[in-house]
Symmetry: C2
Subunit: 343 residues, 2 copies
DNA sequence: TGACTGTTGTAGATCAGTCTACAAGTGGGT
DNA sequence: ACCCACTTGTAGACTGATCTACAACAGTCA
């Protein structure tokens, strides 16, 4: 009893033969197309069940649709991205589309490669979160397949966007901290290659808003932006530098929760010697709500954004031509990680 | 300047025409097949670059390979699954294969549907984590495409498995707790449909080991298994019932970290009135290591398991016929969430 | 009765690749 | 000069679906 050779699965021709109809007829039943009598539908479905037939998506993709929607994510570690996927998945329940996730290798900026991997696979639509990719490149992609970008404030006619109101969210954070009495508020965010050089990304907008609001509050001299690669070691070291250095900030506004968690870790490890440092995140991921973490954060409902991205994409697939740029309102959730500075 | 119609991308015929060679020749270059002169390779590659040509994976899938490996996951919320994916992704760097993730809708047990979605797409190999799926069904899948299952102790010749030594891991946990002086140790785990009814799954093995080890320690009377659906609300409520009920356990062994976090939350919310309850998890996810969480947990290196799964799958793709069942040794990481019971 | 319309099913082209079989060219050995 | 083996390139079948065009038939109405 050894492992058999790969079994040859049933094809549409087998179904046609068993049902005693033409291949085209089976195809019509499969696609629920016009011109099928009840009697035929029944015969065909019986044959499909009998053979355990499943259409090959590759073959379908040659002419028609693949009924596949691809979503590109920078990584799977950030719980906010899981929220997006879970929102997309639930919105897709009942639709004939399957969602597949292409994680961009966490190594170097592989967003382009991952998006291309999806279009190579003839997906019917793409959702992506690539801050580092050029708008013009995305417009080329959008010429070939419907595209919805998350977390980009791009002004374009070629694809749709779903994005939080990052300026408003940043304002919520800073007004909260300023209201508590903080003055030395640092902003820890991604490298300048995705903030300064990409002013249309979430993190670009957040950093710019931080600078503007601080200046407007008469705190131009206190502006302190720490741009770091988002791997935990680097973030940890940068935070320790902040804490141990001169002019220790009384509050750190981290550009997203995953960063904020590492900041919290560094602060906790520093102990009382590190002083009292408030920490605020962004995204309100589930872990921020945990009572042992209790991280103040801005909610922009990843679930909702993921669902809306699907809505827009399905619209595009259905033929919509004009662009839609949707902005999600942020909400501040105040928790224990932020409090008035001591003295 | 309105949105254009979808542009028609270059095909292999276009490349052949521009390069002045046959379609078959281009195909050879693409596949790096035998019988290509340097001169031709150069001409073809130049044409490919000029046209920005990318082969359609759908068309390739009709006869050859899709260079795609699919991984099915129950959900993306559990950070352990992210570890698996990230391990798989890094192992795949440099290989010509693209990884795509098919999340089984978090709703009802959709593992079968997600795995089928992958095979429908002609992936060259499948990695999956479906505890609730029948072994015989998986053997049918494995007859059509190389398959590696994670977290299953199945004894089968048809597919490979990568799994932690769950009995040993459970023993580490219980010896640790017993050594600290705990006697009333409860086990919080998934519903009986994936433990009792599926004794070959991680959680089935862990529950059985818990029962055996408790009995061997003369604590048969203290055995207390709480089987719950893994959504946070249910887990939270079940934990509160444990804490608030009679015979409050002094320790809770949660079947995985995600459950343990919710248990920690319920314990924290209960406050001092809830008594001193130690909590132990399983998987040693990154959040368990956070100093504010500091959850004692069993490490079985998701990164490593994901990487090994890819190794085995590539072996299978390369032609290996005999099964490999790989067992990963567990390691206990003791942290602050577990301590001696108070009196 | 004949023309017209609408429904139901089929034939056959088509999609973009891979793969097999083979022809043509090259070089060496005897 | 002839045979043989090897290298390089091509022709054309093939994959499993969808999609267009059309034939056959039934029913309606003048």
């Amino acid at each position: 009893m050894t492992t058999q050779a790969r079994t040859r699965a049933a094809t549409i021709n087998d179904v046609a033969r068993v049902a005693g109809v033409s291949r085209a007829a089976v195809s019509k039943v499969l696609r629920d197309a016009y011109g099928v009598s009840d009697a035929m539908r029944e015969k065909v479905n019986a044959a499909i069940d009998e053979l355990g037939y499943r259409p090959r998506v590759s073959a379908r993709g040659m002419r028609g649709a693949t009924f596949t929607i691809g979503i590109e994510l920078p990584n799977l570690d950030n719980p906010f991205f899981s929220d997006l996927v879970s929102g997309a998945t639930s919105r897709l329940l009942g639709e004939p589309y399957q969602l597949i996730v292409a994680p961009a290798s966490p190594a170097n900026a592989e967003g382009e490669r991952a998006i291309q991997a999806l279009t190579d696979r003839q997906v019917d639509g793409v959702i992506a979160i690539s801050p580092e990719v050029e708008q013009s490149w995305l417009e080329d992609v959008a010429a070939a397949v419907p595209l919805v970008m998350l977390g980009r404030h791009d002004d374009t006619r070629e694809y749709d966007t779903v994005v939080g109101d990052d300026a408003a969210g940043t304002r919520l954070v800073l007004e909260h901290l300023l209201g508590l009495g903080h003055r030395r508020i640092a902003h820890l965010t991604l490298p300048e290659s995705v903030t300064v050089e990409r002013p249309n990304t979430t993190h670009g907008v957040r950093e710019a808003a931080y600078r503007r609001i601080m200046a407007d509050a008469g705190l131009a001299g206190e502006i302190r932006v720490v741009n770091v690669e988002p791997d935990p070691e680097t973030v940890y070291a940068a935070t320790r530098d902040l804490i141990d250095g001169p002019d220790r900030p009384t509050a750190v506004f981290a550009a997203h929760d995953e960063l904020a968690l590492t900041v919290l870790r560094a602060v906790a490890d520093a102990g009382p010697a590190g002083g009292d440092v408030s920490v605020v995140g962004y995204d309100d991921t589930w872990i921020a709500r945990h009572p042992l973490i209790s991280l103040t954060s801005v909610n922009q409902s990843g679930q909702h954004m993921g669902g809306r991205a699907i809505d827009l994409l399905l619209d595009r697939v259905a033929g919509r031509k004009h662009p839609v740029h949707e902005v999600v309102a942020p909400r501040l959730l105040v928790r224990e990680s932020s409090r008035a500075p001591t003295a």
